[in-house]
Amino acid sequence: MGGTETMMAGTAASAAPLELSLQGALNLALDEILAEDPKALVLGEDVGTLGGVFRVTSGLAGKHGAARVFDTPLAESGILGMSIGLAMAGFHPIPEVQFDGFAYPAVNQIVCQLGRMNYRSRGTLPMPVTLRVPSFGGIRAPEHHGESLEALFAHVPGLKVVSPADPQQGYTLLKAAARMPDPVIFMEPKSRYWQKGQVITESGLDDGGKSPVADGAAGARIARPGRHLTLVAWGAMVARCLQVAELAAEDGIDVEVLDLRWLKPIHADALAASVGKTRRAVVVHEAPRTSGLGAEVAQIITERCFGTLKAPVERVTGFDVPYPSGDLEDEYIPNIDRILFGIQRVLEYKRG
């Protein structure tokens, strides 16, 4: 990103980063996408008049018109079916299913149509659809409002899956996803919606049409460099792993935090580079353990780093139960002590 710094220096005032919540960063990204791409549409339950239950689409219908930002009936299969049809007709739909657990009624559309229409049509019907899914737990919500579906979607050929960890990632990754010719499942960590951070926007950069912000959307990201162990996480767990890394530093353990970002395809080279250096890895996710994405991450690390790994890759995850009610949420989501225990198990491991 050296070029970014140069250009920011060149455009002074307009290049100052904005202080935005993740909600605000996503709202800004959608606003800019709608402005620059006349084929882009935003649709879903309550995204129009209300502005979204998390305010992510607030003001967009008024600004871009009710024909481009509109409410749908409460029918997720219909939202996805309509998006697929719109994509076949040349539009770039950005549908929302209001909560993770309500993606299930649309799974047939997602798996059987969205993921494979390009393949089925020999490339004549690409699906430039970005499906926004408020995801993961952490807000004391009732059933169907705290699920982690990344492994389900990552398993479907033809889909890309991505999850931002902070406002800058939200802005950058959503703009990148919306420009892709492929269907992208965009998993927004709803417990992070209100957290603020600095965001460098594309409009703040006089880049002559080549956006360093978009270039910064590829692959994984080192959220914190470290020497002794790599924590691999995505979505809301990145912030928690950064807290854990601070605590580990108090004990003299220098933890690297790798924000995986893209969950399909997984950036294997970034995993290999990080763990090749630290030689120890713990992967953290909210989803249930069995067949969770942590298993895939652990296997990629094992494949690439087997010769130098100091210990088996540890997983700190949710449990193999339906996502619990709010009162039990803190017991289910990997907490700081469980992650520290995972790190300690790796540190203590002895061969033979």
């Binding site: 305010r55 807000i139 605590l247 520290l340 203590e348």
Partner: protein, 109 residues
């Protein structure tokens, strides 16, 4: 601060409107969740509507005797920007607490 409208919900099985009888809150009032907002009358009964959330009442629509259709604005709340949507609560950022401490002999590296 953000404005959050509360439209008149369907109060029965397919009722299309209700008549305002008496406001139990005034513009500017701070209300709690489930606090009665207004007494309305439908073709079936008179009833008090509880507030769907806490917040400041920015605007009330309809004087006593006025008919309001289901889906039309009834109350506009003013709520802090970090208020949650229709479900859940906004997580608070707390300083991390720990019980587990790490120990390792990194010299073997």
């Amino acid at each position: 601060m953000a404005e959050l409208p509360f439209p008149l919900p369907d109060l029965g099985e397919g009722l299309i409107e209700a008549t305002v009888l008496e406001w139990l809150v005034a513009e500017g009032d701070q209300v709690e969740r489930n606090q009665p907002l207004v007494e309305v009358e439908t073709t079936k009964s008179a009833l008090e509507l509880p507030s769907p959330q806490s917040g400041m009442v920015l605007k009330v629509h309809g004087a006593p005797g006025d008919v309001i259709k289901v889906g039309e604005p009834l109350v506009v709340f003013e709520v802090p920007d970090d208020t949650a949507g229709i479900v859940g609560t906004v997580p608070t950022e707390e300083a991390p607490k720990r019980r587990v401490r790490l120990s390792a002999n990194l010299d073997e590296d």
